[in-house]
Structures are given as structure tokens and as C-alpha cells.
Symmetry: C2
Subunit: 128 residues, 2 copies
DNA sequence: CGCATTGTTTGACAACCATAAAACAATGCG
DNA sequence: CGCATTGTTTTATGGTTGTCAAACAATGCG
């Protein structure tokens, strides 16, 4: 049962700034990341439902984010959960993710309620 | 003679996060911005010489950065100087530019004079 | 005025990208 | 085991991008 595998992703020191910025420069991927910051983790189907894109497109975005070092994927059963690599990103590029998350909250009109969750998730990070 | 024109660029509130991230996700443009952070301003030819790309390519990158709201262009005589829109970016996306500049200093070993100049330029603005 | 200097625009080209559909793979459930 | 569920890979397509070269435009200098 609970065989939990972790998919390969780049080491922290191999994460490149331009690739992270490029990964986050796509609106859909930015939404995925913003949502991950509040929700913690997410399956592929969940992301697709929430964003209204095809599942293969979602899979592609997840791969892009993973290869850029922004998320890591953990397989549990037949689902695959992706989650933010917050600690790794903070270690490599201090403050970057937080400022991007805060900025992504500003940009959306319905950010008022969401904004606090983002900040809360940002401050409550301590495990993993 | 002293006629100084300013080229059109997006208003602060129209700067979009994804476009800024996309503009900075190109290594050459990131170098341009990192250098602007230390040097203050720069002509097109200066940038081209320093980066080893064709002048038309440089011009294209300058346009991309300007349209994304990252730099503004000021024409003086027959030169055009570009400079970072630090205040506007800080107002719209607090902390974003600073964290990217700090990260770009860490990531690029080829940048000869870097982090302490970045901090100096950032500190000369009175904030932080 | 002519001309060199400084950038921009256009054209061309190869590479990459976001997207979707369909085929494929893996996994657990009954 | 068969099968539904969950994602990935493949294939195709339309759009975008980075690059250079060449033509064009603007500007000040002599």
C-alpha cells in the first residue's frame, strides 16, 4: 500500500534563477504555484479542474515547474501530489518566492481574502 | 542641445508580474538589469559591447525590458540611456527586484563587480 | 550640408512553447 | 484478473522568441 515514491528533481544548488523566473512567468504556472502556497499540495487532476486546462497541459506545466526546481512530485498510490520546494527556494534565492507570491496576490482582484492565506502559509512554514 | 526626451513606457499600475518575470527570465536581459543596478544607466552600445551580442539584439532586449516596465529609456542627444524603474517596481511588487538582484549576484560567477555594488545601489535609495 | 554615430525596424530563420487529442503506462480496486 | 482512475508521452499545430544582417531613421559634428 503506502509505497511513496519521490520523482527526480534538480538539487537545490542546481536550481537556476532564470529557469525559475521563466517557469513562473506563465500565468497558469503562477496560479498553480500561488495555489500550492495556500493549499500545500495538489494532484494533477485537481489543478486541471481548477484551471480549466487539459490534463496533458497540466502535466506539462507540472513537469516544467519540477524541472525548474520550483515543485517536487511525490507519488502516493496512483495519485501524484506536487508541492512547493519552499525551503530549497528560500535557501537558494532568499526572499524571491515570498515576494513573487505576495505580488501574485496583488495582481488578482479577488486577492483580499486570498492574500492573508498566502501570507499565513508563508509565515507558517517550518516543517518538511 | 539639452533636449531630453523620455520614451513611452507602461504606467506603474499596468506593470504585470508575469511580464516582468518573463523579461527577467532571459540570461542576457538579467545581466543587463543586474548591471543597471550597479551602473545606474547605460547606452545601447555599451550594453552590446559588454554582452557580446549584436546591436539589434540589444535593442530588442531593451525594448522587451521597457515594455515589461522594468526599465525606462531617456534620449539625450543621439544616445539613449536606459535605467531601472526601481521605485515603480518596488511600489508595485515590493521586494521582488531586490531578491532577484541578490539572486542574480549569487548565480552568475562571470559578473566581475557585483554584490557589494548591488547593495550600494540599493542602499542609496534610502529604503531597506 | 554631408557624414559618421547611435539605435530601431524589418526580414529571415531556427528553436522553443502552450495547447489539445490520442495513445500509452501504471496503479489500486472489486 | 479485468477495469476504471490518474498521469505521462507522443504527435500536431499555431504562436512566440532570440538572433543576426541589412536597411532605415535620427541626430549632432565638422
Amino acid at each position: 500500500m503506502g509505497s511513496m515514491r519521490l520523482l527526480p528533481h534538480p538539487a537545490t544548488e542546481d536550481i537556476e534563477l532564470t529557469e525559475v523566473l521563466r517557469a513562473l512567468s506563465d500565468p497558469i504556472r503562477l496560479k498553480i504555484v500561488a495555489r500550492l502556497a495556500t493549499v500545500g499540495e495538489m494532484t494533477c487532476g485537481e489543478a486541471g479542474d481548477h484551471l480549466g486546462v487539459h490534463k496533458s497541459t497540466t502535466s506539462h506545466h507540472h513537469r516544467t515547474l519540477r524541472e525548474a526546481g520550483v515543485v517536487c512530485t511525490k507519488q502516493e498510490g496512483r495519485m501524484k501530489y506536487i508541492s512547493l520546494r519552499r525551503d530549497d527556494l528560500d535557501a537558494r534565492f532568499p526572499g524571491l518566492l515570498d515576494s513573487i507570491l505576495a505580488a501574485s496576490g496583488d495582481a488578482s482582484p479577488s486577492a483580499a481574502s486570498r492574500d492573508q492565506s498566502v501570507l499565513a502559509a508563508s509565515g507558517e512554514r517550518g516543517r518538511r
